[in-house]
């Protein structure tokens, strides 16, 4: 049984990495970089987030796995709010604001020059994080595209193969490596830092492992991929109460970016210990 699961997982990873990296390399070979491209081109390449979903569906078709929407061994698409499961949706939606705000606080502490409260009203400070939540949830299709692959297919297979604690770490590293081509052209950390791009890829793996732990927790506990999709979307929307106070035109060194990961890493550690340890969870 484990052999079949491993084969299925490898097919999924092959498809997911193969298609995505092909798209990313096409983007890079046509002379584009993350920092040097237009916003429109960045949005376009972000559509590669849908590839894990395509890989998930293709793998199920190739391996003749059931396409059950909800329940055991399913695609985890159901939404169950009973038995206090609704709380995991709330955690998923509001937690990115907490660690996002703490990250921005670290950023301000490390580089006070970035703090610019001029022209910011209370309305902005409240509205911007709320807008991140609303637009994140409504336009969560891209985040869903990733989560439907990683959380609804890869993680259950990894958990079955190696148990929860190792699965979370391996899954995070795999997810981080999936971003590697983009990290090499400036995604998240830019291109001008010592140890480029290896340090960036390592930091990305760390971030993905920490965030992946929280995402796996909300998926396992709610029995649905939707909380993870919402959390990923709100995270990508940059939800933070301090975001409006930050100047956008200042670059900061890689060690500041690394320090800004502390809140999500702490969240990851907390949720790592909260995760159920059994393989059947």
């Amino acid at each position: 049984m484990k052999n079949i699961t491993l084969k299925r997982l490898l097919i999924y990873l092959g498809l997911s990495f193969g298609i995505t990296w092909a798209v990313f390399f096409l983007f890079i070979l046509t002379g584009n970089t993350w920092t040097g491209s237009s916003n429109e081109m960045i949005s376009f390449i972000s559509l590669a987030m849908l590839v894990p979903t395509i890989a998930h569906v293709l793998t199920r078709l190739i391996t003749h796995e059931k396409m059950k929407l909800a329940g055991e061994d399913s695609m985890m698409l159901g939404i169950h709010l009973g038995n206090r499961r609704g709380i995991f949706y709330l955690i998923a939606i509001f937690l990115p604001i907490v660690y996002g705000t703490l990250s921005d606080a670290i950023l301000i502490l490390c580089d006070p020059g970035i703090f610019d409260p001029e022209g910011v009203t209370v309305f902005y400070a409240i509205a911007i994080p709320l807008i991140s939540i609303v637009s994140g949830v409504i336009l969560s299709f891209a985040a869903f595209g990733e989560e439907f692959g990683w959380r609804a297919y890869m993680m259950p297979k990894l958990i079955e193969l190696m148990g929860m604690p190792r699965a979370v770490i391996v899954g995070g590293i795999v997810w981080g490596l999936w971003h590697a081509p983009l990290t090499c052209v400036g995604h998240n950390f830019g291109m001008d830092y010592p140890g480029f791009p290896v340090v960036g890829i390592l930091l990305m793996c760390l971030m993905c492992t920490a965030m992946g732990t929280v995402l796996t927790y909300v998926t396992v506990k709610s029995g649905s991929v939707w909380p993870a999709a919402f959390m990923h979307a709100v995270n990508n929307a940059g939800a933070s109460c301090l975001a409006v106070f930050l100047r956008g035109d200042i670059d900061h060194p890689i060690w500041v970016s690394a320090l800004c990961l502390i809140p999500i890493v702490i969240c990851g550690i907390i949720f790592f210990f909260l995760l159920p340890k059994s393989r059947k969870s």
């Binding site: 949005s43 376009f44 972000s46 609303v134 336009l139 299709f141």
Partner: protein, 259 residues
């Protein structure tokens, strides 16, 4: 609930609809990639303020705006598709009572289905918008696509707002009567607008103290706040949508007791 949702999926001819949406999505994206804006740089038009307008980009921008408008305008057709035919209404009513689901679940399935369908439509439109914008040259058409993409959240609010009023009419009155009620409402609204335009005191509307002018002045000075507030519009609209569901469930339950 999954069974009820599948029933709605069949009622709106979901499989056919999904194929059509997938074909439109793939075809429009492929066409945009084959015909990028850079192909037509030599045939640029000049606008009144000497900005160049790329003809191919303009075509795709207008097609995109039309897709969005069409989605909004067919929302009434969805509502009607989810309603029961008048002549089958009593038969379906008896059938629903025989099912192992409550009447409230039956109503909820229609509201959830509309929510899911709106999510899918918005996602597809956003993907098309991103592809169209990525292959456009900087200029007015690209701005138009970007603006439409940015308006997607208020657009969702608009769809759910319409359904908050449309669904109770269709569910409670049935397909034909529901259509009649919505047509009468639209005609009445049009008559009021024509009446105001023909017989109303239009001069007072343009005077400095009229509500409309004051509103435009307020909007001009608070444009950013108003835009931000429009992004938060899904919150009150979702509350209205939930209220609409509770109202429809209440009326449906009363009708059951009455019958």
């Amino acid at each position: 609930m999954p069974g009820l949702l599948y029933k709605e999926f069949v009622a709106v001819k979901g499989k056919r609809l999904l194929v059509v949406i997938a074909v439109i999505l793939v075809l429009s994206c492929v066409l945009r990639v084959i015909f990028p804006g850079s192909m037509a740089e030599s045939s640029d038009l000049l606008s009144s303020d000497d900005n160049k307008i790329n003809l191919i980009d303009l075509f795709f921008a207008l097609a995109y705006v039309m897709m969005i408008s069409l989605t909004l305008s067919i929302s009434d057709v969805w509502g009607a598709a989810l309603a029961d035919n008048d002549r089958d209404s009593s038969r379906i009513e008896c059938y629903v009572r025989a099912l192992p689901v409550s009447a409230r679940d039956y109503i909820a399935s229609k509201y959830i289905f509309v929510g899911v369908a709106s999510y899918i439509m918005i996602s597809v439109l956003t993907i098309i918008g991103i592809v169209f914008a990525a292959f456009s040259e900087p200029g007015i058409p690209q701005d138009l696509i970007n603006m439409s993409n940015v308006m997607m959240v208020p657009f969702v609010s608009m769809i759910l707002f319409f359904f908050s009023f449309g669904l109770p009419i269709y569910i409670l009155f049935g397909k034909e009567k529901g259509r009649l009620v919505s047509t009468v409402f639209c005609i009445a609204l049009a008559l009021v607008v024509i009446g105001v335009a023909l017989f109303g005191n239009m001069e007072s509307m343009s005077s400095e103290n009229s509500g409309l002018v004051l509103f435009v002045q307020w909007y001009s000075s608070h444009q950013i706040e108003a835009s931000l507030a429009s992004y938060l519009s899904p919150i009150p609209v979702l509350a209205l949508y939930y209220g609409s569901y509770r109202f429809t469930s209440y009326c449906h339950a009363r009708r059951e007791v009455g019958s």
